[in-house]
């Protein structure tokens, strides 16, 4: 694990108000270099708004966010060059080859790259000359991730990256996200899947009604709950249905 104590993203008292209703109500947290940081919470808790403010897509109404010491609100274009963003539903223009899209994304950052190298990284080398519309859901997610990393960002944001993927593609994506983290890139993701958060995230912030109500490692969060005397109905099975599914269909990624 590359995780260090160097803080890369610092969020202090961040606020967003729609009308008179606070969507994000003064939240603070930090993310360290090479860490996978999860933001969990029910729909409408303010997860996406939080991400969008840090991504410079939405105006910050109060508080500050800094990435590597640079203020997000004051230097949006510098920040955009330092972050990679994987949207919830990655859309790409059609009738464009994967290599061309990689070139375009790199060009958006003013860089020239070898697209083949990036596509090989995510097992899409064979699809280099294919149009993006011929990709499967999982391939599209992998492509979207590599497209967001062409400029070697410091922080990588993913909004519900595995929604709608089959178990094989999900596992493959987890592996990929861990590889990104191992390159020293900080990953911030939102998810509704608790198993995903437990497997993937080094630390988790749980949000509700615009506030962070708990922030810790998954292990500590569980330990904390158990210490308060929580007991779950005991289950004797040592496997669940997903284990059965993976056992039957294998871990191999489908295209």
């Amino acid at each position: 694990m590359v995780k260090s104590n160097q803080v890369i993203l610092q969020v202090t008292d961040l606020r967003k108000v729609y009308g008179d209703k606070p969507a994000v109500d003064g939240i603070s947290f930090d993310v360290k270099k090479g860490e996978i940081f999860g933001i969990l919470g029910p729909n409408g808790a303010g997860k996406t708004t939080t991400l969008e403010m840090i991504e410079t897509l939405r105006e910050i109404d109060g508080g500050t966010a800094t990435i590597d010491g640079i203020d997000v609100a004051k230097h949006p274009y510098t920040i955009r060059g330092m972050i990679g963003v994987q949207p919830q539903t990655p859309g790409f223009q059609d009738k464009t080859k994967l290599t061309e899209l990689i070139q375009m994304f790199a060009a958006a950052y003013g860089e020239k790259v070898d697209p083949k190298k990036f596509l090989d990284e995510v097992n899409l080398g064979e699809k280099a000359d294919a149009y993006v519309e011929s990709l499967s859901g999982g391939q599209r997610q992998r492509f979207s991730i590599v497209a967001a990393l062409v400029h070697n960002p410091k922080v990588f944001f993913l909004d519900e990256p595995t929604t709608g993927l089959d178990p094989q593609a999900r596992r493959n994506l987890w592996k990929l996200i861990e590889e990104v983290r191992d390159r020293g890139i900080s990953v911030i993701l939102t998810t509704h899947y608790m198993d995903e958060a437990e497997v993937l995230c080094d630390r988790i912030a749980i949000m509700d009604r615009g506030k962070i109500i708990k922030l810790d490692t998954p292990q500590n969060l569980i330990k904390d709950l158990l210490q308060r005397g929580f007991t779950k109905e005991q289950k004797v099975e040592q496997a669940n249905l997903e284990d059965v599914f993976i056992d039957l269909t294998g871990k191999g990624l489908r295209t």
């Binding site: 991504e55 897509l57 955009r80 790409f92 061309e100 070139q103 060009a107 950052y109």
Partner: protein, 371 residues
């Protein structure tokens, strides 16, 4: 980022989008074929408009060789379009009643017969016509009269002291096709500059493509510039095809300088594109874009001279419509292409276009939304 890098961004977006255009059959159709269809329809309606000609049937009931010769001679003349299918009066009357024939020329049984006491043939042709075709029949009769008079002179060897002849001066006047063609150019520029962006941008927004670009350091001006270059290139190609067809099929004579013409048209495409960028860039979806585009496009379509030349309008209306964005485009293109004017001669047109250019791009930059 250095300026060089920023321009590389523009170039990369431009090249990929041009490649994409040539892979998209629908886009190719609307870029290249669609304007050509209009060109063929309107060009076809206008072709031959300059020659006066009559659709006639010749019914020759005479057996005399002279009558046959005379009928053949009429068939060769530009003034007459002889319908060779028609042999009987009933067929001719039917066609005349439908307005497909202007008149029927009858050469009666005794036409061209040589009377016993003379050496030359004689007779009287009859022009039959319907109530609505009086003027055509009158002109036709006069023409026939002249034809016969010429023959008479030869046959009787009489003197004709007073005659008239015609002489064309070498000055070219604008044909109605010149107006039609430059109007269609304007229509093609409208299509490329406005209908393109208002369809493409809401689609890009719906798919989240612009939103994603928004997370990169890409600036609006870089994005606009790449779209401008792409439209200028595809627009000029499309217009180039129109010129080739107009010159080879419809005998359009371009007397102006092609380089000046291309520069002027590229400027026109970019100026009109600003309107499309403003509408498409502002609209969140197709439902916002379409009505606004119609409000902007329809007045230009009918008042700027795309389908009807502006000189047909009353004077006050010509003065007002001259200030619409597309009017100087159409006027300027016609002045360069068919009147041989130079860019320096069309200052007023360029001036109006420049004002619109600044205005529409100022609006486009202001109202652009990435999502």
């Amino acid at each position: 980022m250095t300026l060089r890098q920023k321009l590389y961004t523009v170039w990369a977006f431009f090249t990929v989008n041009i490649k994409r255009l040539f892979r998209d059959r629908l886009a190719l159709f609307f870029t290249f074929l669609f304007p050509l269809i209009f060109l063929f329809v309107f060009g076809g309606l206008n072709s031959g408009n300059n020659d006066v000609s009559f659709n006639v049937a010749i019914i020759n009931e005479s057996k005399a060789p002279f009558a046959q010769q005379f009928a053949d001679q009429l068939g060769k003349q530009k003034t007459f379009k002889v319908d060779k299918e028609i042999k009987t009066f009933s067929a001719a009357n039917q066609k005349m009643s439908r307005g497909e024939l202007d008149a029927t020329i009858e050469l009666p049984a005794n036409f061209g017969a040589i009377k016993p006491d003379v050496t030359y043939p004689s007779g009287q042709a009859v022009v039959h016509y319907t109530q609505n075709n009086q003027s055509a029949a009158q002109t036709l009769t006069t023409v026939l009269q002249a034809e016969l008079q010429a023959i008479n002179t030869k046959l009787t060897h009489s003197q004709t002291p007073l005659t008239v002849t015609q002489k064309q001066n070498n000055q070219r006047s604008l044909s109605s096709f010149d107006y039609t063609f430059t109007g269609l150019l304007g229509f093609a520029i409208l299509g490329a500059g406005i209908f393109g962006p208002i369809n493409v941008f809401p689609e890009l927004k719906k798919m989240g493509i612009l939103r994603r670009l928004h997370t990169t350091p890409l600036r609006v001006w870089q994005y606009f510039l790449s779209v401008m270059l792409g439209n200028a290139v595809s627009g000029l190609l499309s217009i180039g095809v129109m010129f080739v067809v107009a010159m080879s099929v419809f005998h359009l004579k371009v007397v102006g300088n092609f380089v000046e013409l291309a520069l002027f048209l590229a400027f026109s495409v970019i100026m009109i594109l600003g309107i499309g960028l403003a509408i498409g860039g502002w609209a969140k979806n197709e439902r916002q874009a379409a009505p606004l585009a119609n409000i902007v496009v329809f007045p230009m379509m009918f008042l700027s001279g795309t389908f009807f030349p502006r000189f047909l309008m009353p004077h006050w209306l010509q003065n007002i419509t001259g200030y619409m964005p597309l009017s100087p485009v159409i006027d300027g293109a016609r002045m360069i292409a068919t009147e041989g004017k130079h860019l320096v001669d069309i200052g007023p047109q360029l001036g109006i276009m420049a004002i619109w250019l600044v205005l529409v791009y100022a609006i486009a930059f202001r109202v652009f939304r990435w999502e």
